[in-house]
Symmetry: C2
Subunit: 233 residues, 2 copies
Amino acid sequence: MTAVDPASDALASLGRARHLIARTTTAERVADAVREEVAEGRLLPGARLPEQALCAALGVSRNTVREALSQLVSERVLVREHNRGVFVAEPDRDIVRDVYRARRILEPAAVRHGEAFDEAGVALVRAAVTEGMAAAADDRWDDVGSANQHFHRALVALAGSARLDQQMALLLAEMRLVFHRMPDVREFFEPYVARNDVIAGLIEAGDREAAAVEITDYLHAAEKQLLAAYEQL
Amino acid sequence: MTAVDPASDALASLGRARHLIARTTTAERVADAVREEVAEGRLLPGARLPEQALCAALGVSRNTVREALSQLVSERVLVREHNRGVFVAEPDRDIVRDVYRARRILEPAAVRHGEAFDEAGVALVRAAVTEGMAAAADDRWDDVGSANQHFHRALVALAGSARLDQQMALLLAEMRLVFHRMPDVREFFEPYVARNDVIAGLIEAGDREAAAVEITDYLHAAEKQLLAAYEQL
DNA sequence: GCATATTTGTCCGTATGTATA
DNA sequence: CTATACATACGGACAAATATG
């Protein structure tokens, strides 16, 4: 290496980190596309995803499709039944209970003991509340649902751990599948717009303990409501 | 279907659930094998895993190997560098900090608010302490490390969420890679044998709050010690 | 700095076993 | 029971990126 200028070291370092930026494989793009279809509800729980159909639709090989599907199975967006294929996950009561148990650990603890509880983090919580209230005022209930997810993601982000952020994203993706099984989502989002506002207020006031208690109660109520809805399914 | 006896319905139901038991794909077995090699320290952080070498060693095709490697990349056991291959992960200081932030949320909260805090769960915590003390008495420090992992897994299991259990397993797998970068693991395990005993005692006494506080302090100390060790690497 | 060898990313064809109409 | 469709797994191919002499 013939270092002629002082920037060469930095450039060499950049070169070694090249794979970190803007490098996306075909399998990743396929996974992104399928994940989005599921998130948007265009692929409903229980829907089958034959490999050949995906190959044809996306213009990629079966190997690539299989890699993407495996990724989504590990995210619990899809489930694989051996020798039968992959399907969009259909979360049952047990899954709802497990997800809420996890959320009742993560979310209150992030608010109570999070190590990234700063102005920027609190502002994100408030922004999600504002987003939700605006959507509710316009009767855009799907958007209220999205805002609600932003709210809970912002709560966990107060912990300051990328790993927990990712875990929360997976849990919320599973929740989206739960809501897709419901006939009318409005009843599940409407009561929580105001509660989010209350929680954000407590957080802004610095009363982390009160906010955490409120979140715990909120999550118990939401789980109860969802499980009741499963009875009429 | 000619149902001749009352058991036929139950048998048919079993048949439909067949894929749930003992069905393992080749890719899964490959992933298990590689994961174990890494966990046991026979494949050290930074080691390269060429696809062809794995094909030859395991007698499977490249497609299958690639599926297994992708799985392990999503578990953060391996890292993929685009067009360069996959390597055993080399956790750096930032990763250690992130993992400990996550653990300081998960573990104390599971003890404080876990919804599976029962006799069986507490017994598993105690069993891990006993296992660690026996191994320490015999100077089997690798086994002390394993027992330590069982201890922390048992703490999170008090939350009663399979999803959190899985998340904790991933975090502990990353911790194993951190320890594999250390010259002598004894100094990292020895101080915590006694502390685990104290924590287990508090849990058995039903003082969940005191146990949680002790765990938080423990995790701060362990992180600090590891980051200090990184300075001399 | 260049030419070469190696390895990955991706595609294709195919054989086999399994599930379902 | 057979036929069909599909998933699993293998092997070969090739371009592009990377590593090496």
